[in-house]
């Protein structure tokens, strides 16, 4: 009798397995999970929680990613088996289909607005920093837009690489430097060299003589214009003076 109840009591002293609390907090949405995924961009570490994807980086190692996450997001992070459809969503997102949800908690309203706007830029196109600033109704905050994009916790998926400088410089890139930015844009079908030549020549917009509409050079609506109908425009004022109106899709100027 005594021995049995003593044993039962000892059974009550058994400990929960290692990592129980972390796994539980992840399930309750109070910690994030992460895993490494093979993508067109190479191995990418992705963190997620019940609200969506919360961070991504091409880190050297799991430890490096955890460090990045700690500094950037600050919540507890646990390695985990990803949900069944996450790998497919990641591939789709990187090939231009939008299927991902994001968790941007912890960022300021301004940062969130910048990232949401950036997310609207289609694959294969680029926009200037000033465009993002104007679209979110902070037209003077061009530098702040740059800072917000530099701190983008979810590069590649929220395409901060599609925001470029108007002077033709490729601009810095938190997701792996200017070289990586150029490589990703090229992979997405942007003719980076041509874009830089135009910028250096002082050209900002492409106008189409027949429609009298002007666009950003990468806007998909201008892509099918015949060469002979294309005019290159230096600024908004001269475009308007020549009778062009801004494109309603890429919105190169307030309409």
């Amino acid at each position: 009798m005594i021995e049995l109840t003593t044993d039962l009591k000892r059974l009550g002293d058994e400990k929960a397995p290692d990592g129980f609390v972390d796994r539980l907090l992840a399930q309750a949405g109070m910690a994030d999970s992460y895993a490494r995924f093979e993508t067109v961009l190479g191995d990418v570490y992705v963190a997620w929680n019940r609200l969506g994807v919360s961070a991504a980086a091409r880190s050297e190692s799991a430890a490096a990613f955890e460090e990045f996450f700690k500094n950037d997001v600050g919540r507890p992070l646990v390695p985990a088996q990803p949900p069944a459809d996450l790998a497919a969503r990641i591939q789709d997102e990187l090939s231009g289909k939008r299927r991902m949800r994001f968790d941007l908690r912890g960022l300021t309203d301004f940062e969130q607005a910048v990232l949401r706007k950036t997310y609207e830029i289609p694959r294969g196109e680029v926009r200037p920093y000033g465009w993002v600033a104007r679209e979110i109704r902070h037209p003077a905050a061009v530098r702040a837009v740059g800072t917000a994009l530099a701190n983008n916790p979810i590069p590649y998926f929220i395409p901060c690489h599609r925001v470029v400088r108007t002077d033709g410089k490729i601009g810095n890139y938190g997701g792996g430097g200017p070289e990586a930015k150029r490589a990703i844009l090229t992979m997405e079908g942007v003719r980076v060299n041509r874009l830089q030549e135009l910028a250096r020549a002082g050209v900002r917009y492409q106008g189409v003589r027949t429609t009298k509409i002007f666009c950003y050079p990468t806007c998909h609506t201008g892509r099918h214009a015949l060469e002979k109908n294309v005019v290159w425009l230096r600024d908004e004022a001269s475009a308007k003076a020549a009778g062009f109106r801004p494109c309603k899709v890429c919105r190169p100027a307030a309409a």
């Binding site: 049995l4 929960a16 129980f20």
Partner: protein, 171 residues
């Protein structure tokens, strides 16, 4: 909101072993025990976020978690078939330790399997009384049964565990 999350985390850290051990004794294996413990805390969390602060402050956490755990366990029995017993649990939580610890662990797994083999009403009563060391009154409250019933069930459960078949209640 922030406050509830921190309170919840503290609650989990404080009670994780107790709730896991309860799951282990009720289910007989570590894998299911972790699931029961996890579901218990997730349910607790979902309830906590709806409670006003005063109710959270006055909560008798231990008794409350026991009640949730027993309900989680009963729902599982209703829903899914118990797994075949896996004596050593899953690989991931098998921390390689000294031999003595491994033996103790094997003994405990063995005992858990025996306890989990008890008929349900004896099992719940024995586990809450002798594994979790609740008082008879607390067990009665947790299970929603009269104290006399609990005492009888504990007594019979212990007899069965000792392999004393003679005194077995007819069922």
């Amino acid at each position: 909101m922030e406050g509830v999350e921190r309170q919840f985390e503290r609650m989990v850290r404080e009670h994780q072993n107790r709730v896991f051990a309860l799951g282990l004794a009720l289910t007989g294996n570590r894998h299911d025990a972790e699931e029961v413990a996890q579901d218990t805390f997730l349910r607790a969390y979902r309830a906590l976020v709806t409670y006003p602060p005063s109710r959270i402050r006055d909560l008798k956490q231990k008794a409350w978690l026991h009640r949730i755990a027993v309900n989680v366990f009963r729902n599982r029995l209703r829903g899914i078939k118990p797994r075949l017993v896996e004596l050593n649990g899953s690989e991931s939580d098998h921390a390689p330790g000294p031999e003595a610890r491994a033996m103790q662990r094997a003994q405990m797994d063995d005992l858990a399997v025996r306890v989990a083999g008890l008929p349900l009403r004896y099992r719940e009563a024995v586990v809450l009384r002798h594994v979790q060391e609740l008082s008879y009154a607390e067990v009665a409250q947790t299970l929603g049964q009269p104290v006399g019933t609990v005492k009888a069930n504990v007594h019979r459960g212990l007899k069965l565990l000792r392999g004393d078949e003679d005194d077995r209640a007819d069922d």
